[in-house]
């Protein structure tokens, strides 16, 4: 596998220091991308951050940017409802899937099921959105119009974050030392007793990290939600009411937003990024704790 056909004395005089210089340049560019993104988001949000008091995002009467009203709360609420709803469904299903793969299924079945979940990761969000739009929305519409609703958003998001939770929980459970489990079995504890008393507590941090990552993904998901949520800015009263999420709002309005409106959308982008950053930061810390 090792290619040593070429002369060891590399024709181009690529010295160690020159190479290091090139590598460093690459690394500096990588690091700068994040700074550049933050800089541009702040610059574009500046007209609003500088002039409009942030309190107005919570005190304005409604979200009607062309009438100068920038109430973000219903959109924030919609984002949270959709994400929390999806998490409530995806956490038990995801952990159950991981337990199935690790402790319940035969090796063959486990392999197939794991592959299925991995393939689920590969389905792009726009395809989930399209499927939701053509299959779920008409179904929900028969139940209770208009169909495009918080419920549709929750269901589609659940499918999208399920693999994240399953696969992280799987690797956390696989990392539980086998002797723990052997000891438990030797003590005559039942299978679920062992899982509940030994495996899950030992894998707790890894599973939590996965859940937080999934939460970050749900908050930031755009296309699938945009296609099925109905996008009405309001506090939903039932699961059948349409909602708009932060990310969908950006996708829907950036195309034609100008001036303060555009700046407010960049503020919401900044907000979304900070939210997700905090979440992935917590997940990173948990991961570190697990390895320590």
């Amino acid at each position: 596998m090792i290619w040593s056909k070429r002369n060891i004395l590399f024709p181009l005089k690529l010295t160690d220091s020159l190479l290091q210089g090139i590598l460093r340049a690459g690394a500096v560019i990588s690091a700068l991308v994040m700074l550049l993104i933050s800089l541009f988001l702040v610059v574009e949000s500046w007209p609003v951050l500088g002039q409009i008091s942030p309190v107005r995002f919570f005190t304005d009467t409604s979200w009607h940017p062309l009438e100068g009203a920038y109430q973000l709360m219903p959109i924030l609420a919609g984002t949270l409802y959709a994400s929390v709803g999806a998490l409530l469904l995806a956490i038990p299903l995801g952990i159950a899937s991981a337990l199935f793969i690790v402790y319940y299924a035969s090796p063959r079945l486990a392999k197939w099921y794991k592959r299925l979940v991995e393939l689920l990761v590969g389905i792009p969000s726009v395809v989930f959105g399209f499927w939701g739009l053509t299959t779920l929305v008409p179904l929900i519409n028969q139940l209770h119009p208009p169909g495009a609703s918080l419920l549709a958003a929750i269901l589609v998001l659940t499918l999208m974050i399920l693999p994240t939770i399953t696969l992280t929980a799987y690797s956390a459970l696989m990392a539980v030392p086998a002797e723990f489990l052997r000891n438990a079995i030797a003590l005559g504890i039942s299978r679920w007793g062992m899982i509940q008393g030994v495996a899950l507590p030992a894998a707790k941090n890894g599973i939590t990290a996965g859940i937080i990552l999934a939460a970050a993904r749900a908050l930031g998901e755009t296309m699938a939600v945009l296609m099925v949520a109905g996008n009405v800015v309001q506090y939903p009263e039932t699961f059948f009411d349409p909602v708009r999420t932060l990310a969908a709002n950006i996708a829907l309005e950036t195309a034609y937003a100008m001036g303060d409106h555009r700046a407010v959308l960049f503020v919401s982008g900044l907000l979304l990024m900070l939210l997700v950053m905090v979440l992935s930061g917590i997940a990173g810390l948990l991961e570190k704790q697990r390895h320590a």
Partner: protein
Amino acid sequence: MHEVRNTHAWQILRDRGVQFLIYASVLLISAVFIWILVDLIRGGIAHLSWEFLIEPPRDTGRAGGIAPILVSTLLILLVAVLTAVPIAWTTAILLAEFVAVDNAFGKAVRFSLHVLAGVPSIVFGLFGNAFFSIYLGLGFSILSGGLTLACMLLPILTSTAEAGLRTVPNTYRTSASALGLTRTAALIHLILPAAAPVLAAGLLLGIGRALAETAALLFTSGYVERMPDSLLDSGRALALHIFDLSMNVPGGDTPAYASSLVLVSLLLCINILAMKFAHGLQRRKIMT
């Protein structure tokens, strides 16, 4: 004694209950997954043909095919990968081979990439629109879209490459240095070839991510559905085509199903290939 038997019976009952719930969840998830796949296949297979792949769309996509869209998608991917790979891989080599784990610069770069990995794609779209399309004046073009995706791919390409390089056993490095090889020579002749399968797996994962992306392209590459003449032309990516057909074209569901089928098949192939490469690595790790 009686009590013990009771708790034992209860335990068996509880275990059965839990097992039932777990099997039910797994059945539910598999059923939904198969439902989605069957829906996609049933909706799109009749419309799918060789002509569909090589013809331009007509009548806003209701008729004709997706040829220019495939070309645009490929060009966007090419720009993204060719921009991101050199930066990501040099960064990964630096982090894995040349910088101590607790080095401040290395830590800063790693932290920055970690944060970047968490940024939602719509935010990349906002940034790409403000920076590439407007500030740099690239407009709605394949170049803007590709460069925006390149930013998005940096973290995943870097982290997979770094992980790959770290799996190369240290004996490679020590033997190379014992033979008097410079670090550069050792890197080029030993370490990179040994890590190649993982680099390839990471690259494939990145390509898959880019192929699936819609939100970041919405305001950067635009959605002109014609054959692009240059990188400065707007080009519609396949994922965006599905979005447009399903949202904006009455009667566009059938071609949207067919396009989804094309996209999902491409992604499945890429992901399976990536898994193969990663598996190869694991096998080798056991052997060395």
